[in-house]
Amino acid sequence: MDGPASVAAGNGMSKEGDGFLSRVSERAKATRLGNITAARSVADAVRTSLGPRGMDKMVQTETGDVLVTNDGATILEKMNVQHPAAKTLVQLSKAQDIEAGDGTTSVVVICGALLEASLELLEIGIHPTIISECFQIGLDKSMGVLESMSSPVDLENREELVRAASTSLNSKVVAQHASLLAPLSVDAVLSIAGDERQGADLRNIRIVKKLAGTVDETELIPGLLLNQSAESGASGPTRIEKAKIALIQFQLSPPKTDMENSVVVQDYAAMDRILKEERTYILQLVKKIKATGANVLLIQKSILRDAVTDLSLHFLAKVKIMAVTDIERDEIEFISKTLDCVPIASPEALSADKLGKAELVEEVSFGTEKVIKVTGVSTSPDKPKTVSVLLRGSSQMVLDEAERSIHDAMCVVRCLVKKRAMIPGGAAPEMEVSVQLAKLAKQLPGHQGEWIRPRRNSGHTRLDELGPHGAGFRVLQVSVSGSMPRLWRSFLTRWRKTPGSTQSKS
């Protein structure tokens, strides 16, 4: 940033004014101003969606899809911002989403406030590097403050975790379902969580969305959920107890001849043989599968051949094997992890030890929609655990938003698994940091103290946001006047947020 300024100074364009400001050309100043304005307008755009009583945004995307959301990262991503500086903020929010999963709106709002504060300082003629430096001091101090006000979390204390998840969910569109979704997210994450070092891999949680019923009917399934439905064409079974599950990657259909080749029939008697050959081929495959003891078959989707034909379904139904087709390639890993089975790539590789076992596999239908539930899975204890969530909603919009919200809540819990400390929410930490920074500002000698003060004010900004949207100052009073434990916040979320927003000031 100083590059063009110094060149400009060399050209002798710095004659207007004195002091160190004179070394900064008007152009550099304008650029900085432009950047700050753009970034602030991004912050303004998401500002109203902060907090439990925040409002939603409706975005109509380029393709005409309509999205109603309260999630900062999603809003910014879909908004398609063009200004480069504004884009930095969008990425900032995305980074927060990836790292912590929640607090994507706050991070942008704080960043906007910091920039606004720095603008004032720039106007009275303070050099950007000094502002930067002081913000850094402020950041270090606030980290310390946050650390000191955090309290350790015991993962055994489920209630505390549920409170943290509720705090995250309360600001979402699905807030009225928080009492159901919060314990659900906690249970989901805890059931897959390892120790502090491993953390919790959210990829081990599978969310299956179904457009039927209402969000109230969302449930956590210890086991596997499949979006596919059982093949019912040949009236095969749709419910199997004491299931042995084979996950196969080959097809139960007659092989196709290559393009240029053809089978030549010269004799009418041969026609019989051809028809019979197809039957025996399929029959051999089915018998081989049956011989391993499998009674549930999950078949990977293939673009080259039909996974099953009427004939093979007919045979499977006869030997009472439940068949599920159209398993996507990227689902294979999760399924084999969950069921503790090995995907079988060819008929030769079939063997009994590659099968997964479960107490019950059944197809469940909600109106026209169907899912397959696999419960009572027996896995070896050293394997990573997985869990599935059946998310239901009455419209696609609600469903998508519920998925985003539940993901955020799970991220909060994941953060707690990684770093087991919490701080109160509802702007309490911001207030505390602000107060502490004010003290620091007074102690510091020289101009530095002066410049930290604005940073402190940015903490207030967040507070002001919660205020007007929180129906008076109730939210505020609750969190400050002693009932803090009600609104626990994950410490890690906040911890990431503060450095994030400070550093993005260029």
Binding site: M55, Q60, V68, A86, P254, Q266, Y268, I274, H314
Partner: protein
Amino acid sequence: MASQGLSVDGERQHGQDVRTANVTACVAISNIVKSSLGPVGLDKMLVDQVGDVTVTNDGATILKLLEVEHPAAKLLVELAEQQDEEVGDGTTSVVILAAELLRRANELVRSRIHPTTVIAGYRLAMREACKYIKSTLATPIDKLGREALVNAAKTSLSSKILGSAESDLFANIAVDAVMATKSSKKEDGEMYPLSSIHMLKAQGKSASESQIMQGYVLNAPRASQSMPTSVSPAKIALLGFDLRRAKMKMGVTVTLNNPEEINKIQEKEIDLTALRIQTVLNAGANVIFTTKGIDDSALKYFSGGNAIACRRVTMKDMRRIARATGATLQLNMADLNGDESFDPSMLGHAEEVYEDKIRDDTVMMIKGPKVQPINTVLLRGPNEMMCDEMQRSLIDATSVVKRMLDSNMVVAGGGAIEAAVSTHLENFATMLGSREQLAIAEFAEALLVIPKTLAVNAAKDATDLVAKLRAVHSLAQSDPTKISLSKCGLDLAEGAVRNNFNAGVIEPAVGKIKVIQFATEAALTVLRIDDLIKLNKKENTGEALE
């Protein structure tokens, strides 16, 4: 304003502007369906792009055909669909109520009440309303009399095309049809799967000639005139494969050196099919339905075996016949030895299968199925549009009957419940000392839009009637001895207030609760939006290259 600097590729509206725009769009949608509410509501005629005409009174159907573009208005259309799916009736009411709630909320916001306050108030009101309906207004009927079911069906039908003269007939048809589907599975208790109600539309004669027939009417003629017209007792085989000449698969070429072989090959093709048919007949089948085709050359085998065969039967019919007769649909005849055979246990049984005539169509009648009795609702009407609308109305009525059987709770219709809840909420609002009071009072007012619209549609003095209705309900809630008055609703023929419960205007309670819940949820979703960002459609890259 700082946000002006936000450079997005598209438009951005926010604050009060977007709220007003959304509310206006929703109110516009509701105005379209408003006049079709109630027993004297009027119908809409919709002509689509292809020129197909639909005449209907059903809110969900109207909105579905409208192809609404505005994103907020779309929410309302989805709302109607949701109500249709969950309850099956009350699709018009839910849209009208949601729009009215929104309109009032917007007024409140304009008079400087923050939307979050309105949202909190509405949510509180919604909970209180549902609680009040469940605890006080709903009447449980333990032993559901048939009369109650018929009355509920009648109430649903009264606002439809069938309501005028034939509501008695159709209400009974609806109740009979639902009762016939009753099946009790071990784990779920009694179930009434509406999908198994079979309706057949036949133009001609008048609506009053519609009837419910014993047995299953399959809209397919015999495949050949040489087949018998009736068999008894019938053994039914349901096939899912082709009975045409066996063709070789792709990639198999027949090459002949000797011209005489051609005949043999062709014969073989026919023989393969003949063998299959013979196997089925040998298993004892005398009625064969297939979803695929039957070659003319193969028909003689059926006639020879004294069997009836129908081709191109739809999968839906097949499933229903299978359920009623105990047959299993066979997609293939292959057995576990690699040969083809047909197991007699796959056959379904019925007392009689015969050909009959309805209008000019020949149909197959399946009488006296062995496993489960099955009925067919035959709808007659002067034209196709009328028949379609009759079907929609009857489906609504059957879902009402099903809800009644599922939930066992009923409430009085004709605006009674809305007036009662409204009066209760007004009292409830005055008990609250917070600013949500205003929102709850507006919620109470908004509920009155239903009786008001009913009265307006019936060409009565809405102000007068609703005032009377409210007075009655206020009395009922203040004086415990007059509790029976809480079932009073509008009598739209007379333009008076009467006890609708005794008059037989009743609805399932769950339907009304869902209307209030869904309408509130939808209104809140729209209300929570304070920012609308519309991105420009992406340019076609193909043109850019030019």
